[in-house]
Symmetry: C3
Subunit: 668 residues, 3 copies
């Protein structure tokens, strides 16, 4: 599909009365050219075991085709019918909290053969029926798949076999995971206990990784089935989601997105975020960079918010700002969840583009202007290519390990540290990619890699980062990086393990700061921003330059933040949790060292700049105003055209940005 | 019983040593003329299956009769004996938390045939034994009955049958409850899952209503048995209680009082409330109005606090103030729970009239003055008739539905909104009744009906309210009213559903206020009281007059509070959660419009006025001072007599009220 | 062992690589002359059922003997192997939360015959193998034993038999525990329900006491087995621990230390405490006094912190301060948990003397100076004899009863009140012992006994306290004392039960203070310190002198704190929860009355004085500076020698104490 897609999730099955033609009329008026259907309604399509009824699918496909609206068909497997649970209660996942209860979606054991049998049957029935329909442009396998904490005896058995495959002997396993401790040794594979109650972080984290693999395997299995029916030009995607803190916050703990995306044609994602006065664009940017990086190309926003919650109902202008922000990160699709607000059940107050009264409303009216602009500018804006010089390295394993070995207080978790560094790059308009432990072959294409809290890492990974620096790369590490190996065994060597070489520091003690600040306010920030919190490593520089010392009667002789030239590059190490302001300054230093600082960095949040190259080979730059006040700036690039207004923009032109405004300049 | 009853719950079985004659002597000294016995001590009366021992009942009845003290005998069914649980462990209610555990009271499945068999047997044994005893004036069936969350397979089965009776077909059910959503469809009655895990609010609320029906049925069943033995002049009552927030706060979620009271002769209730500096009389008034309204006549306060908790031990004067406040609401009985403080087990710190030392104490000494006044003034104060012009409409179903669809933050719940409006009426000395969805035939007898958060309501009910306004009535609605139908399906029409006609407004969006106030402080309140919180509907007036607009950069074009003349009446709509001060002003406006404002409204809390007509046909007015400071006021009515002091009170007399004082004037 | 022991827990089994000779070398350098082994590693020593492998024990014993380091061998029974759980899943304790899950230590049913069988077998195998080894100086039975809430059917059955033995008939039981209440009567022993769900505090507390007896019995059973092998000169000890609030806070709820210690030769303990800016020495002192009092002699600190947590890593000097503080309380051993920081599993961040890098670090370096001084001064400091004139009476039963009948708010618990009084004595340098209800024969040896919140007590105990006062003793009671009998039945007499005689007061009402202070600030403290909180009894003096009245409009006529001469002694009663400052003043008054006030009391925290008599019969005085600032004081005793510096100290000499400093003066 070589065009911008503007879509909604559509549930004909949920309608309180016959609406199809009215809905299509209103969709057309709003420029909607795509819908997604079928992913939640298994019990409607298979009302009894082996009895199928796809009439709502058929009629929607036909009507949409007639209206020129494309359709993505989802496999309906993430919410199971009542009859299945009544016949086979054990399809419900047994979790650490006990056996499952019917009611919600996403409650089954995704490894259970009964569930897999019924899933395969409905997938084949549905996809074989729709694959030749001209409205269908692609498929979504399942939805927001996770492992749902499945951990009953059958899963434990698979895990034991997985462990045996990995370690060969119990001796190896005991050694790697330190199971002598508290008499946890497993001296015979038959003695392997359920790990649900384990207090061993190495074992617990290995199980969490195994559970993520269940998701990867499940999605690959579904995709392989759908691929049997997929027609040329059709795609398979999946709707990934992020760690949920009331919105899409950070790295998904339960899925290895990078591995799971390999089976797919196109990466898809849902991105939800605070709005109204709290709209910053950070989640749109983080979610976009993460998803674009999965397959190194454009992606689909399969779900994002229209009206949503009472505290998210957008202010005038915000829906537009959001839509173009997605495009600016490389999305080729913006699709709302969902078309109409639902009148019963759980998500009644998660409102769609239409309110419950199903008529026009201010949010719908604003969507109409987006649909119009998407259609008009599709050629210019679709398939934006981005080439970033900075990257952030994230790791599911580091996340899990820091959940096992929490920072003091337990409130600052892995994703807080990820967002602490990512958000500062965003605010400084540093475009960046996301890289993973398993994509270390890509490190060389960046000038700067930021590595938050890489608590667990193999020797190979740490050596790769050392080599990257040696060869001229720039790395900024935070505290906790390098501390333990891939089995979350703390390295019994000098810390930070292996990377002490590139960082030029060492430490063996770490404490919790009470009232500790950085000596002499070295980054010239507000006094309160000069304090540190939660964690401090007592660093001793070997070859590093000290950027900041601790201010403390006893710990004052230790370093807090250092930078070290190593080979042709430089490694910066942040040994404590500083304020956002200090992190920004440290990153700014590394950015300048890496030679990335440019004119876009003269602008700062709330003015956000995103850019890429379009299919015509022209540079396209988006300027966003993420604030309630109008802003202006001087355009610093070659002559261009503002695409929304079709106005010429010469170098040096002062551009006005309305509150929550957007401007798009194509350099000619 | 044509006299005031002053009583205590009495547990001869709990006494640490032989006390009966001493207790009676002390009761007589305090004017106690009633006790309640037997409702908690099944295991004493039936120590083994089928072995009965009513000796403690017999001796207490005989001794009380000799002393001229009346007795209410309670059926002992709300706390089951150990032998029953040992023989039939499944009489314990299975709840969403799992099977029950023996220990507390109120833990059984009130539908279980074993429990019902044993209950019926002990009821018949006990009541047949005591019914001819001259001490016995009536019976209490069970105590504070609820459904105890019973929801095991047998209850689920009953519920499925109940659903089939209500809907006939699964198609109707699926449609009404929106079960297509998340694959929750039930395509065959056999597939009906336990609703314990449901995420469907319509279904969940239907089950909650079904559970309330279990209570209604259970109480009717017990009452029918007792009625077989009841002698002329004897009554059957029940001890209802309220939503418990550490005290009697609001509408009881688990019982439909209005329905359950139908089987009874007289409505009874327990009312517990904050005391000491926090004593306001609000719970006494709310509990009294609620209970009086159940059968439209005088009621019993079967339990209220004597010393109770360390933070409730009354200040001097408060016990009197409380006792007369109950009478002023229409109670014919004030009975303390309980006579003596308990020396073991759970309620050791819920102290009775006597402390643990069983001797006189300041609270007991004050009770003596109450008993004396009750006896002396019984003819003047008993059977007070009240005719109120205002009412508050409350709904169990609205309560449940707002627990399923919580307001943002989850802290403001249905009863908070009920109390927000009720307490303002109380403070303004507006006497009011409580009306229910099923008592809509009574609406016409009021000049003003206040309707808090009627989130779920049938078309019939909303039409009745529209008609009421059209015919000259005044309604004040709060936000959320009318939003969903009786199945908690959001109305797919303009909001507020159906009542938009009478209210003259419409809306399709609602948001969570950040820092929003009312434009221009239209009610002239303190700045902080002009802010709103939690919820705001973006109202557009059609025919309504706008009483307040929102102050907000984006939502400022929407109305917050409106009033609309419709037919001969007026409907006021509060579209947000304002401060108490603003609610008071809005209600004051409606009260004046309705023509209810009078001289009693010139007094305000902490001076409280309550009135009625006594058996002599005279107006009796109670004046209470709910404060730590003495107060005075000018008596604005015709010549009367202050009954406590037997002093003449001419029109215009200045009456002094001591701190926590009470004055009762009978107009001659 | 007539010398000071300086030790570490040592886990050869946990080492990430071969370390034994390096470790011994580093231990010797630090003066370590003792290690403890084997208590956590059953699964290493018995890898399969009946297969034993003590090679790591053997090699460590041989190597340590060669190095002259003593060894305590622990029985490995507190952490069970995987094979045992796989073979006999029911060895896991069933608790009120359900069946157990394998994973942690301390999860078994210590009454289960399978567990006991395997335990006995490995104890005999291990101890018989090591008992003749010259490195072995003693044994630790199990570790931090508790009952782990075991309460399944087998334990319930034992409890029923225990109840029958105690009460003989169900009638006695029902009477004692007030089981008529809420139909809880047990009319036949067969009907006895599991008490897991009981709401009867008398019954619940009896079960808690029974569970403590399980621990006593278990430790006696293990000790008897080990005693069969024990050689002359060897000892058996156990590692007791305290109520854990993130550190060793107070009386252990789950173990009756006094009873459990009877089987042992020497009492051992672990003491963990806040550090860095929060280091006060209070827990060292409380833990030491408690443990020394168990057998009335010197004791072992079997575990205390080295680096431990990030917020405990000691400041320079603190490790020394802590070590000598233990000696000053009468310890003959200071042993760190543990030698090396662990690289995997649960306690990775509970660091030992060595960091994870296993090299020297600042904490280890400070340990070297301690080891050197311990060795040099062993003759002078070992076996310090202490004779205290004050004692604090603590009671497991009072603790449990106040958990059943919580103070308002639930935050102030029994141990808070214990520490409220103990810590004030500590701050005033009043050396004290701990006495128990069952050691009332020792009361007479003290001039002052402080009795915090003795909520439950037999007549015998209260009479003993009355007699103690009558005979010239001084008692300071807090509120709640004497209120209930040994069955936690509230005494149906005047309060405070029985001790009202000695205290000369009575009360029958108690309330929760809002803003109540003490009238006229009688103790001349800061205004905020003159407020009371949580609890106030409305005391009426009979013969007592009133030390403080309440300031309150209604309660002002009641006394708050009183003192009463009774016989030759005096009883002080604190009827409310005052500030620390007021408690200090009240205690100071009693101390002066008791004739204990002396020159040590002229110094106050943060300067702490502890003293005793050494084996040479000389008085040894420790002076500690528990603060960040240097301090000085004038030495008020006869000529002595400062032992750490070997400097002479004449009477009147000004002694300087460094921050966190220690000085030890032996009077000649």
């Amino acid at each position: 599909m070589n065009k911008l897609l503007y879509g909604v999730a559509y549930y004909d099955e949920y309608m309180p009365y016959e609406r199809l033609s009215t809905d299509i009329e209103m969709m057309k008026a709003a420029g909607i050219n795509l819908i997604r259907i079928a992913e939640s309604t298994w019990s409607t399509h298979e009302p009894q075991n082996g009895v199928f009824d796809f009439s709502s699918v058929d009629r929607v496909l036909d009507a949409m085709h007639e209206a020129g609206i494309h359709v993505i068909v989802g496999t309906p497997t993430y919410a199971i019918p009542t009859w299945m649970v009544k016949e086979h209660p054990d399809v419900l996942a047994e979790t650490p909290d006990g056996p499952g209860r019917y009611g919600a979606r996403q409650i089954m054991d995704i490894t259970h053969p009964s569930y897999l049998f019924y899933s395969e049957r409905i997938i084949r029935k549905l996809i074989s029926r729709v694959c030749d329909h001209p409205a269908v442009i692609g498929y979504q396998v399942d939805n927001e798949t996770k492992h749902y904490r499945t951990s009953g005896p059958n899963v434990q058995l698979q895990f034991v076999k997985h462990m045996r495959e990995q370690f060969g002997t119990v001796e190896q396993l005991n050694e790697a995971y330190g199971l002598d401790y508290w008499s946890n040794r497993i001296n015979s594979w038959e003695d392997f206990p359920s790990v649900v109650g384990t207090i061993n972080g190495s074992l617990g984290a290995a199980f969490a990784k195994f559970q993520r693999k269940l998701v990867t395997d499940f999605l690959a299995w579904q995709t392989a089935i759908v691929n049997e029916y997929k027609r040329p030009g059709q795609f398979v995607t999946h709707n990934f989601d992020f760690e949920w803190r009331g919105y899409s916050f950070g790295v998904q703990p339960d899925v290895d997105h990078y591995e799971a995306a390999k089976a797919l044609d196109i990466a898809g994602v849902d991105i939800y975020h605070p709005s109204q006065d709290d709209l910053t664009g950070k989640e749109i940017s983080f979610g976009g960079d993460s998803t674009r990086s999965l397959k190194g190309s454009n992606y689909f926003v399969l779900e994002t918010q229209a009206q949503a919650f009472p505290n998210w109902t957008p202010y005038p202008g915000q829906l537009r700002l959001q839509a173009f922000s997605h495009l600016a990160s490389g999305a080729n699709m913006v699709e709302y969840w969902h078309w109409h607000s639902i009148h019963n059940s759980f998500e009644t107050y998660w409102k769609g583009l239409l309110s419950h009264d199903m008529g026009p409303n201010p949010t719908y009216d604003e969507a109409k202007t987006i649909g119009r602009d998407f259609a008009r500018l599709s050629d210019k804006l679709v398939n934006l290519k981005k080439k970033n010089r900075a990257a952030v390295l994230v790791s599911n394993e580091a996340l899990t390990s820091l959940d096992w070995f929490k920072l003091p207080g337990g409130e600052v978790r892995y994703n807080d540290i990820v967002r602490l560094v990512y958000d500062r790059l965003y605010e400084m308009n540093i475009g960046c990619d996301i890289v993973y432990p398993s994509s270390s072959d890509q490190f060389g294409s960046y000038d700067l890699i930021v590595v938050p809290a890489l608590y667990t890492a193999s020797d190979e990974l740490l050596n790769a980062l050392n080599e990257y620096v040696e060869n001229g790369g720039h790395v900024v590490y935070t505290f906790k990086s390098g501390f333990s190996n891939e089995h979350i065994k703390v390295r019994p060597s000098a810390q930070p393990g292996l990377i002490e070489k590139a960082c030029g520091i060492t430490y063996s003690q770490f404490v919790e700061p009470g009232k500790v600040s950085l000596k002499g306010n070295p980054f010239d920030v507000k006094a309160s921003d000069n304090n540190i919190s939660v964690w401090m490593e007592l660093l001793t520089p070997t070859t590093a330059e000290v950027l900041a010392w601790y201010e403390h009667p006893h710990w004052g002789r230790y370093a807090a933040i250092t930078a070290n030239r190593y080979g042709k590059g430089m490694a910066t190490y942040i040994g404590c949790l500083p304020s956002e302001a200090v992190v920004r300054k440290v990153l700014e230093g590394a950015i300048r060292e890496a030679g990335i600082w440019g004119v876009d960095q003269e602008l700062q949040f709330p003015i956000i700049v995103k850019s890429g190259v379009n299919e015509q080979g022209n540079k396209v730059r988006y300027y966003f105003n993420y604030s309630e006040e109008p802003r202006s700036f001087v355009y610093p690039y070659g002559n261009g055209v503002e695409l929304l207004t079709d106005r010429e923009i010469p170098l040096g032109e002062t551009i006005e940005l309305e509150r929550w405004g957007v401007v798009i300049v194509e350099e000619q």
